[in-house]
Symmetry: C2
Subunit: 215 residues, 2 copies
Amino acid sequence: MRIAVLGTGEVGRRLGSKLVSLGHEVTLGSRSADHAGAKEWAAEHRSAHGTFAAAASGAELVVNATGGLVSLAALEAAGAENLDGKVLVDVSNALDFSQGVPPRVAQPEGGSVAEEIQRAFPGARVVKTLNTMTNTVMVDPGRVPGAHVVFVCGNDAEAKAVVTDLLKSFGWPADRILDLGDLAGARATELVLPLWLRLMGTFGTAEFNFAVPKA
Amino acid sequence: MRIAVLGTGEVGRRLGSKLVSLGHEVTLGSRSADHAGAKEWAAEHRSAHGTFAAAASGAELVVNATGGLVSLAALEAAGAENLDGKVLVDVSNALDFSQGVPPRVAQPEGGSVAEEIQRAFPGARVVKTLNTMTNTVMVDPGRVPGAHVVFVCGNDAEAKAVVTDLLKSFGWPADRILDLGDLAGARATELVLPLWLRLMGTFGTAEFNFAVPKA
């Protein structure tokens, strides 16, 4: 697939690299056309980089890997016409570092970042996933032992099916991909971040994940 | 120990029953002295019941098993002098059923219900725990397979040690009791409830719990 990964931080670069290794045509998108880190990543992965709009316009599927607090602005720059009809995978968290570390988790007016994105871009097919773990685990679930899980929420069943297939290609077994229903479920998965942050502080590592055994 | 369990719902009665079975002297506390359900529970368990104040005054340790939205009022009725110096185990969640089911999870001004309790009753030694699972699993962790966990947060290390011992007596292995640090950690554990509710909806059962495997 032709995929735009918006966001040049660790998450964007990790997801971009994984998608390239799986044979997808990836463009890393950033605020400007000559972002140094994006340029470097693109050279290293024999891939493309560009503005949010340039990346999104050529893509069939878009990944929002920008910080949750700036995602709406980034996607506005990408342009609604470049998101219409496309699966938009939202992996963001609304982390507020303005008061230092650990960051606070902002609670958007619209319930969740994902729902605010869906409301702002009604033509996009937003699917929330992968925001409940560190980036190394997203693309290599085997790094953490046990039957830990990834959550998927969205209003469009076909979009969720596309994302589920992508997750399987990352190594997630089908029975560890938990469909939590509609996009309002993103409130639940975004609100898990304070616990994730506390656990990271307690464990001294980010390489853990949630499992949900049941009787 | 002489223990007051405040709250006559399923959680209070389940915890009360477990504590009685372990040999503790338990008084179930409710808003009034002649609560029918409390009276019935007390008769069945050859234990006592009374008002919040009566229960708390005779106890060495107090469990807040009232709904998170009414906990401050219940504890005010219990009386600060009856909570001073005592370990106060807060198992509540701020669940708002006013808009139907599933309930919303209210986000207290003071960060968490636990911190609001600690601020209102500075002499009490508040420990947050057990609010991230259904009541049957609280007192019988073996109901759910796997290395699922219970979280403990509080500002008083000795109070946390007392609560940890209680949890062990419920069947929680030491390495599955996760101390998340100070009471601000209660924000994290209280905010996990939206995910818990979504999972209950998805699974069709409340008999599950969180595990946190790490690399």
